[in-house]
Amino acid sequence: MAMDPMILLYALIGVTLGTAVGVLPGIGPALTVALLLPVTYGLDPAGSLIMFAGIYYGGMYGGSTTSILLNTPGESASIVTALEGNKMARAGRGGPALATAAIGSFVAGLIATLALAFLAPHIVKLALIFGPREYFALMVLAFVTVSAAFGDSAIKGLTSLFVGLFLALVGIDQLTGQARLAFGVPEMLDGVEVTTLAVALFAIGEALFVAGQGAMGADKIEAVKGSVWMTRADWARSWKPWLRGTAIGFPIGAMPAGGAEIGTLLSYAAEKRLAKNPEEFGHGAIEGVAGPEAANNASAAGTLVPLLTLGLPTSATAAILLAGFQQFGLQPGPLLFVTSPQLVWGLIASLLIANVMLLVLNLPMIRLWVKLLTIPKPWLYAGILTFATLGTIGMNPSPVELAMLLVFGLMGFAMRLYGYPIAPVVVGLILGPMAESQLRRALSISQGDWTTLVSTPVSAGILFAAALALVVPMILRLRGRGEVLSRLAADED
């Protein structure tokens, strides 16, 4: 079936449409798939399935392009990509950043799709072991490792993190339905949208900062420096992060309450810890793009595990995929692998073909994309701001949402001026609500007994790992204290 040229054409159309729409601000993967789903209806089942797979992967990939080039992540899963990716793009290494993202996505998609095909029924059993207490333990681990990755300066990092946690309080409390810090504004009942915050802090804060530097601005954007393509060193630094990102992203994506954000954050933290030169992080380390992008795509395939094996849509995108599958007569659920194996294998073959097509389409595009950065600064930033606000308007055309964009943009500007790290704010907003609700769910089920948090081997094990991650660096620091103190003394003026 894969050899049929029509099938390849459908895959190409699907990937092209998915990428084209996915790149647009304000249209995340969920809306991309929802918008393009009707396109597939008129085709024969095999053709529609494959075009659909192309749209899904294309839509997932489109978001990371804007993250890297314009610092405007279109969906929460590509926020982490912007951290290092945009720094690389500004240093003239946009080509390698886009390439490692595309190839990493391909590698992760390939491995994760195969894992989906052969391991799904087993993985889902593992995923079901995770209840509220295990998720809470996972969040604690994420908090500890991720804060360590961003915390070059303890007090400023903590300030940023707690400002993020403060923002996380806004909105309706999931467990009781009570409104917190919404002040009667209906738009605030759903809380602060993660992408709104990220776009405001990253893109708008950056634009204001660059403007504030005025004529003395030394911040030159170099479109291309060195090769557009990945060098041998880039390959050597990328392949391990791809594999690690896949290993982290896939299982977490397969967990019903996992999601792509945690996987990308954990992958970033892992890469920073394992990198040969961690000081490059924050200035455009290719590992920080390769790992999270692989994790992002692997978790996209991971989401299909509970969807196909249990019929559980665990994200908005998955819910739309479910509707799409039903259109093709494919009823996801516990019996799917038994009752309609041809359809499952058809889907998996489609995903693999779409994955290849995505790479074929996007690698040649990189040369064009990096040209964007040659646009003179005034036009480039005007365009970025138009796109950044369009993202918010497209998602939710409300003045309140735009006001948040402005306020957080000013906050991002001030934080840059005074050297407060920005990423921890976003981390607090992402992880805070998840950690809080899982903790309270666990406590509600145990009727207020806190020992429930360590009552299973899995949760106790993860919490122990988190404690190690917190304590070990401290001990190391204490041991090397003399050295550190002398260095501090030398810094004194």
């Binding site: 729409v21 647009l24 249209i27 918008l35 303890a154 007090i155 400023k156 903590l158 300030t159 707690f162 400002v163 946690l165 403060f166 309080l169 409390d173 467990l175 009781t176 009570q178 917190r180 810090l181 708008i204 634009a207 204001l208 660059v210 403007a211 504030g212 530097q213 005025g214 003395m216 005034p378 036009w379 930033y381 005007a382 365009g383 701001l385 138009t386 606000t389 369009l390 308007i393 497209g394 055309p397 003045p399 735009l402 006001a403 964009l405 402005l406 943009g409 000013l410 500007f413 001026l417 005074y418 050297g419 809080e436 309270r440 769910r441 406590l443 009727q447 207020g448 501090l488 003026d493």
Partner: protein
């Protein structure tokens, strides 16, 4: 830890106290919310007020750390900023926010584009037409090809029939 707050200068600066004040304000808000919410923790023993109290207390402590750093003269120097371009961009964002509903996407976003590019050094007579054309094109793509509805004003209604 406090040492981290030190900038390159070393003179005590108002900014550190200002940040401390803002943090204290946020902390107070969170604490107030934490105590004001009627407790519906139910069987968990920790209701929706729990996290606000923790976050509020932490923000208060961080505010204190900033004050202490400011008193010790470990505050940061005010960075040099040229205010004019920043104000242009903020004006652009404000204009978009206020004009989006009454005038529609094209005029509001076109103005944002124009003011931003103008703030960064291009003349308005160039940026304004370009911004309007760009925003109008974006509206056309979203409305006609994607069938997604962006806020329409009189221009959009005139051309696309609303």
């Amino acid at each position: 830890m406090i040492r981290d707050l030190r900038g390159t200068g070393g003179r005590p600066q108002g900014a550190t106290f200002l940040i401390a004040g803002l943090l204290a304000g946020l902390g107070a808000l969170a604490l107030w919310q934490g105590f004001a919410l009627p407790d519906k923790g139910g069987y968990a023993g920790m209701g929706s007020g729990g996290l606000p109290k923790v976050v509020g207390a932490a923000l208060m402590a961080l505010s204190g750390a900033h004050v202490w750093a400011g008193l010790r003269g470990l505050g940061q120097p005010a960075p040099r900023v040229s205010p004019a371009p920043v104000l242009w961009i903020v004006a652009g964002l404000l204009a978009q926010l206020l004009l989006l509903k009454p005038l529609g996407f094209t005029l509001a976003s076109g103005l944002l584009f124009a003011l931003t590019a103008a703030g960064l050094g291009k003349p308005l007579r160039l940026t304004l037409p370009l911004g309007l054309v760009l925003a109008f094109a974006i509206y056309g793509v979203f409305d006609q090809i994607l069938q997604l509805h962006l806020p329409a004003g009189w221009i959009e209604t005139l051309v696309f029939g609303g």
